[in-house]
Symmetry: C2
Subunit: 450 residues, 2 copies
């Protein structure tokens, strides 16, 4: 149906959630997005804006007057408002902070004072608190009387000492079910799990997910409670982190953004640099081939042409087993199942597995080379070279594929930068050296020339 005027748009989108509106808008151009957004009520529009991919949101905000953006900043919870900063010029954002209510501006500045990607930037300060002496009746009264927008959630009420140290927490359910005259100190669950504001967002999000919490209290460096991280924000961080990890494993860099919202140029920027690096790294494989071809020509070219036929098979097997290992280890590191200190255990396990898998592939490879009719009917010497090279290459690929992500983690990089394409490319060149060196020895022993 054609869209006519504010009333029609509002009616059409009535009851549709901001997440769904944002998804639909992504497929339109900026002008259309803007036209529809203008017809929405301010609260929905503000939430749609933060659900839109960064680039789309930036294009829209550039077209919106300061008063509107300031209004959005004001409506949104502070931890969401902070996300809009990414889409604004620093000067404009700074200017807007002077327009919105002073208290909000101060909270935004406080959150922004924490390091990038830290739990402090993800948290909200709008949590419900009480003193240990408050009774359940006091707590309920407080919840009844505080304006709705002051709390991100009241499912937990945090019991703070006078110097704002976290003594314990109360679930709202427990508050309702306990004797109205009992104090928070009596009823509270003590020893809650907490995180530091300077800890990483992903770490905080993993903790929320691991324990199934609906919120995680955040402390500053002096142990005072400064905010909470809610499960929905944690979920969003995890999904972004996982998307970035998955793409990185596939050799694509960049922030998590919806595929269809990215332009062709943006997609190229995320892919071409890696491809070029890998492409140039692959030059080395050609050089290895050329070196051994030269050697073979000097030695009389024995079996060189036949040997070349096995090159894709050998580098394929190395690449595929390396991909399996690096994917498995990178994922285990991300989930915290494997720590960097486990490197030795991991290496021994992977080496054992590689020897067994490599031997199986070696046997099949030997049959492929040696057998007449179903195979290529090659001489025993070359068939043995293929059979021995496979376990050696797979062992090498597994060692590289397991140790590189762990080393990256130790050095403080994201292990996922040791992507499958990276391992594959690295194993291509080095795997061929293994192949030709085995050939030189075995064929040398059989023929006295190579």
């Amino acid at each position: 149906a054609p869209i006519e005027g504010a009333a029609a748009v509002r009616e059409t989108l009535e009851g549709i959630r901001p997440e769904d509106i944002a998804e639909a808008l992504q497929r339109l151009g900026t002008d259309e997005e803007l036209a529809i957004l203008r017809h929405l009520d301010a609260e929905t529009a503000a939430y749609v804006l933060i659900e839109l991919p960064t680039e789309d949101a930036r294009a829209i905000i550039n077209q919106l007057p300061d008063a509107t953006v300031a209004h959005y900043l004001d409506i949104l919870p502070m931890d969401d408002a902070i996300e809009l900063r990414e889409e604004l010029d620093p000067e404009r954002f700074e200017a807007l902070l002077h327009v919105i209510p002073r208290e909000d501006a101060q909270e935004i500045r406080r959150l922004l004072s924490y390091p990038e990607e830290s739990a402090g930037q993800l948290m909200t300060e709008d949590f419900a608190e009480c003193t240990p002496e408050d009774t359940m009746m006091d707590v309920l009264r407080m919840i009844r009387q505080t304006p709705d927008s002051d709390f991100e959630t009241v499912n937990y009420i945090y019991v703070l000492s006078e110097d704002r140290h976290l003594l314990g927490l109360l679930s709202l359910k427990r508050v309702i079910r306990s004797d109205p005259m009992s104090t928070a100190r009596e009823v509270m669950h003590d020893d809650p799990v907490t995180i530091l504001a300077t800890d990483g967002q992903e770490e905080a999000a993993r903790m929320v997910a691991r324990y199934g919490f609906s919120a995680l209290p955040v402390l500053d460096e002096r142990g005072r409670m400064v905010g909470i991280i809610t499960a929905d924000d944690a979920q969003e961080i995890l999904e972004e982190a996982e998307t970035e990890d998955v793409l990185r494993l596939g050799g694509v860099s960049g922030d998590a953004e919806a595929y269809l919202s990215l332009s062709i140029w943006q997609l190229i920027r995320r892919r071409l640099p890696w491809l070029l690096v890998l492409f140039i790294a692959e030059f080395f494989t050609g050089s290895v081939l050329r070196y051994y071809t030269g050697q073979a020509e000097e030695g009389g070219k024995t079996m060189l042409a036949q040997m070349m036929l096995f090159v894709p098979l050998l580098i394929g097997a190395g690449g595929n087993s390396g991909s399996q290992v690096t994917t498995t280890i990178t994922r285990s590191l991300a989930l915290g199942e494997v720590k960097a200190t486990d490197w030795f255990t991991v290496m021994v396990r992977e080496a054992t597995i590689a020897l067994m898998i490599g031997s199986a592939l070696g046997f099949v490879g030997f049959l492929r080379a040696k057998l007449p009719v179903i195979g290529w009917n090659q001489p025993m010497s070359l068939s043995l070279v293929v059979g021995f090279a496979l376990p050696a290459i797979v062992l090498w690929a597994a060692t590289v594929g397991s140790l590189l992500p762990i080393t990256a983690k130790r050095l403080g990089f994201d292990p996922a930068v040791m992507s499958a394409p990276f391992i594959t490319t690295f194993v291509d060149a080095t795997g061929l050296v293994i192949y030709f060196e085995i050939a030189r020895r075995v064929l040398g022993a059989f023929h006295q020339t190579f």
Copy 2:
């Protein structure tokens, strides 16, 4: 410190969460796990058991008497109790259902009557409900008087009609803050998002995550509310689904289980079948090489040796760009950013990108072949073949890498089975056909022989 007796174990593990105990136990053998578990109180032990990897839990349960397992089934919320079924023989599980309270057994049977991997098997029936005529005071009284274990969460109270249709929902916060004499019908938020019990778990979990819900109501096929899916269960399903997708993209099959809890044999079972399939598929690449080598020998072998030097470079570029595309598209499909019906848009975008990226690589490849000193100083004809083959191979890899995951999705398979190693292997053989066919034409034109 050495562990001595129940008291010491209990004291050492005091205040440690089941998730953390489970992680520590995974690194021990079954006997030690069992010894420690026996010293824990039953509730903690039951939760530790469901956090343990399937294989570990199965080994332990085999050693536990029926009475203990039945006790655990009884303690756990039903949606968690159901997880224990995977670790029990079907007969033993059936027998245990006769030991536990009849009501619990009936609930377990009801949940199990839903399809495998369905929302129905993930939900809990323990949600808080009220009628539309109940006042806020009634609702609070109900929450005060119902035993604690009857609700998985009371953060939302569901307003049901007499025939158990969902009319709306109340947040506990709203119940507290509203006029005590107002009715649920007046206060409730209507038109809640719901899901069918027969819908998939992953779909339900994605919906919980997308909207940041703490619980999602589940309806049966007649529209009656039968349960809720809580955010922590949804989170667990998503993490497992994501782990399985990541591993599948890396060419590893199997359920999400912690790396260190898997035995060497289990890891081999998850990897060797794929490697063997890919290995045998790679035979085809050898056959392609052999066919064109044969052709070239008949034609006088012009430049065959030099041509071979570029093989790893070309199949590497095809494999890497194919990996990028398949990883990007698979992830977008999983997140719902791209639908199967978007195949044409995706193909056109990817083809455009591939032509641009391929041309860039082609130019660099041409320079590598042609330039003296820093390159290989090859004749113009072969350098042109390399320069033209690259965009053609990259275009082909991108088309295959984008369409195969979408086709898998359309046919109802997990798109992640179209893993990067699969695409890479497929592109190896077919990419070489492209290379040699271009060579045959270009070199034929230059030399009249190939």
